[in-house]
Symmetry: C2
Subunit: 436 residues, 2 copies
């Protein structure tokens, strides 16, 4: 008789995890505080979009959903850099194959597909159930539903994929010997919307991730299925150029005119958006360990990261794949694998947390920096000459399943080598095979 698993959170990670567990034959129930997103009136395409890449696809393939998700995903083969004087140029994501892409998907659409698939497998999903009590020592979970009724259960196993503001994590950090860190970025973000053009056409190249790098801040845009783009402005909270100083719409518009004129030209209702849209914070969250007794966190609840490597969801999906792999040898008591799971994942989630912070510098600054471009030039020449001998850090993180910690270490080594060749031989140097 297999254990009954209780999952907190029916977001991307919670619903994917439920499918994995159900396929292993466990009884699975999910509790989610929000209403069912499939029955909400969501403006098509106006939701936040995410960049799905190799690790995410691996997880979807393992549960047979790759084809289904491909239908709602838009390939982005390159970064399209928008310069201050209005020019654009493209930098392919993969230096190995120009056809390799990352994929823009709507968080909501993907969540809806996963929920439907989970239910089709027989997962019971309880929406509108807010977790109001967790007693780890007493093995108790309490929920309040929309009718304000209180329901309590004693879970055999509780897996919390309840996001960056996890209720289980807030309990774990009150336990003895739980290390915890939340660090906010000095930048926050605000979203904008570029509507579709005539006949639902995209007004910019839809197969690129658009970036307006401006040193200490940047704007990015990802395509939506309906012809629109979702833009995100990342800007410092305080200082000369900051959200604090953009304290009215006139200043906001002047700021866009100065720095993002081509994007502004595609937003006829900019003023209204600027007045309505809210500024949101960005934080990195670290916890250790991830479990106690029958309770374990995963996904953002255990390791929320900043979005600049496009790996938050992909990393959470990889959690599910790792968890599922560990289940192969431990089908009787899931809580037996918590130790292995957290030990295996922690070095990797720490690594991607740091790389995501580092990539912010690269995205907003270095993609237009001459020194950075020279290093890229040498790297491109190496990959052209020895395609099997060299992987860039971006390639390892985005287009492979090489553990994040390894990608980070290898990436640092690569960078030192490139810097060294540039200093010694200049940007046109192509190292010998022995030097790699």
């Amino acid at each position: 008789m297999k254990q009954k698993i209780t999952i907190l959170g029916a977001g991307l990670v919670g619903s994917l995890l439920a499918i994995f567990l159900k396929k292993r034959g466990f009884e699975v129930q999910i509790f989610e505080k929000r209403p069912d997103p499939r029955f909400q009136n969501i403006h098509s395409g106006r939701s936040i979009n995410l960049a799905l890449s190799h690790r995410g696809w691996q997880a979807l393939a393992k549960i047979g959903m790759q084809t289904e998700v491909e239908k709602i995903a838009i390939q982005m083969f390159a970064r399209c850099i928008h310069t201050l004087d209005g020019y654009t140029h493209e930098q392919p994501y993969s230096l190995h194959e120009a056809t390799k892409a990352i994929y823009s998907v709507s968080r909501n659409r993907l969540n809806q597909l996963l929920l439907t698939a989970a239910e089709a497998q027989g997962v019971a999903i309880n929406f509108g159930m807010k977790c109001t009590k967790i007693e780890i020592e007493n093995n108790l979970l309490g929920f309040r539903n929309n009718q304000n009724e209180y329901i309590k259960i004693n879970p055999e196993v509780c897996l919390a994929a309840d996001g960056a503001f996890s209720v289980l994590r807030s309990q774990l950090i009150c336990q003895d010997k739980f290390d915890y860190q939340q660090s906010y970025l000095a930048h926050s973000y605000m979203e904008f919307h570029i509507p579709a053009g005539s006949n639902n056409s995209w007004q910019m190249n839809k197969n690129s991730l658009h970036i307006w790098p401006r040193d200490s801040f940047m704007l990015i845009a990802l395509p939506n299925l309906d012809g629109s783009f979702t833009c995100t402005l990342f800007l410092q909270n305080e200082g000369e150029v900051s959200f604090q100083n953009l304290d009215n719409t006139t200043k906001g518009k002047a700021f866009f005119e100065k720095y993002f004129a081509d994007a502004l030209a595609l937003m006829p209702d900019f003023e209204k958006q600027f007045e309505t849209n809210k500024v949101s914070s960005l934080a990195t969250i670290k916890l250790w360990p991830w479990h106690k007794n029958n309770f374990c966190v995963l996904g953002d609840a255990a390791h929320a990261i900043v979005p600049f490597y496009g790996q938050g969801m992909n990393c959470g999906f990889e959690d599910c794949v790792e968890f599922d792999s560990l289940l192969e040898d431990n089908m009787t008591d899931i809580s037996n694998i918590f130790n292995n799971f957290e030990n295996k994942r922690k070095p990797n989630t720490d690594a991607i947390a740091q790389m995501a912070l580092d990539n912010f510098i690269e995205m907003r600054d270095l993609v237009k920096d001459q020194h950075f471009l020279k290093l890229k030039k040498i790297e491109a020449a190496i990959i052209k000459k020895y395609p099997k001998k060299w992987l860039s850090q971006y390639e390892m993180v985005t287009f492979s399943s090489i553990p994040y910690s390894e990608a980070k270490t290898k990436g640092i080594e690569n960078k030192l080598k490139l810097e060294n060749w540039l200093t010694k031989h200049g940007e046109n140097y192509v190292p010998t095979e022995d030097e790699l």
Copy 2:
């Protein structure tokens, strides 16, 4: 009309702060969840003791309590190192004046004195009132008393000195843009008691802080007024020699016989103590910022540190002194000074947090390390020759009010110089005045 101040916590920092504020003419009330420690049956001398040093004394002097506290304090002029083969040797704390001491005081006794002084000033102290609700936006505090009655207030200003497990801090970290970190040490501690000898005499030198450094772990002992000593064993949680492996009294006794034979000989009831006494954790806590609206944390609630520099209480007392100093120019609205207060204190509390971690290495390891002793030898020669030109880091932290951050920076510089002289000239070198 001055503001009414609500303080959470009637511990050392809360009660001291209350006295400072009352002396400035504010109306002050304290809420404390525990019962009044003055009416509890506390075994004299068996409570935890603390090392009171310059910063703590400065605070007590500022409210006129120095003489009163001196009566319950025992001078410790030196570290008394107990070697593995049963020898002892003394290292004076101050290389400047052998008469400079740190002081062993009972946490409970000191707390009692401060509470009585606060009440004498007219501070209202409400014991047995557990803070069960804090709504920062609604400016609300809710308490439950021993009769399970619920009392709520709208504080004009709320200062939380409610310790390492602060209720206010647990609310602040749920607010946007509050950075937070709790990091547990790989070591925990367990207390032991060496009873008084005949006629309440001390069985070891009472004017020293006793240390049994054993590389990865150590035992320390501080004298109590009644002739006893309180010992603390600091030991790793896991590993070959660890609390985990001392899982029965036989092993515990064998461990003490091997490493602390002279201390064990003074504990006739060791077995009983080992069975009864609990193992406690050690953590460093960091928060930023420290306030929101009318609510502000200070003391351990804002910056709990490990005990190895003997500065936890001294640092909390210095918080009160700084807060009081800032009040001089801002008597109308206390919440106006929160910004200044936290900005002034944060670099210093971060510095002592790090120095306290570093000093653990020194205490358990380096006080018997030959290299360390050689550096100390050069430093002693310098201080002898140029007493006004050189302060050791320990001297700055313990016997001065030099800001902790400055002491830390200067300490690192000093160490580099000493290392350099030792490498170049050997342990008998005395630098010229220009070299300092």
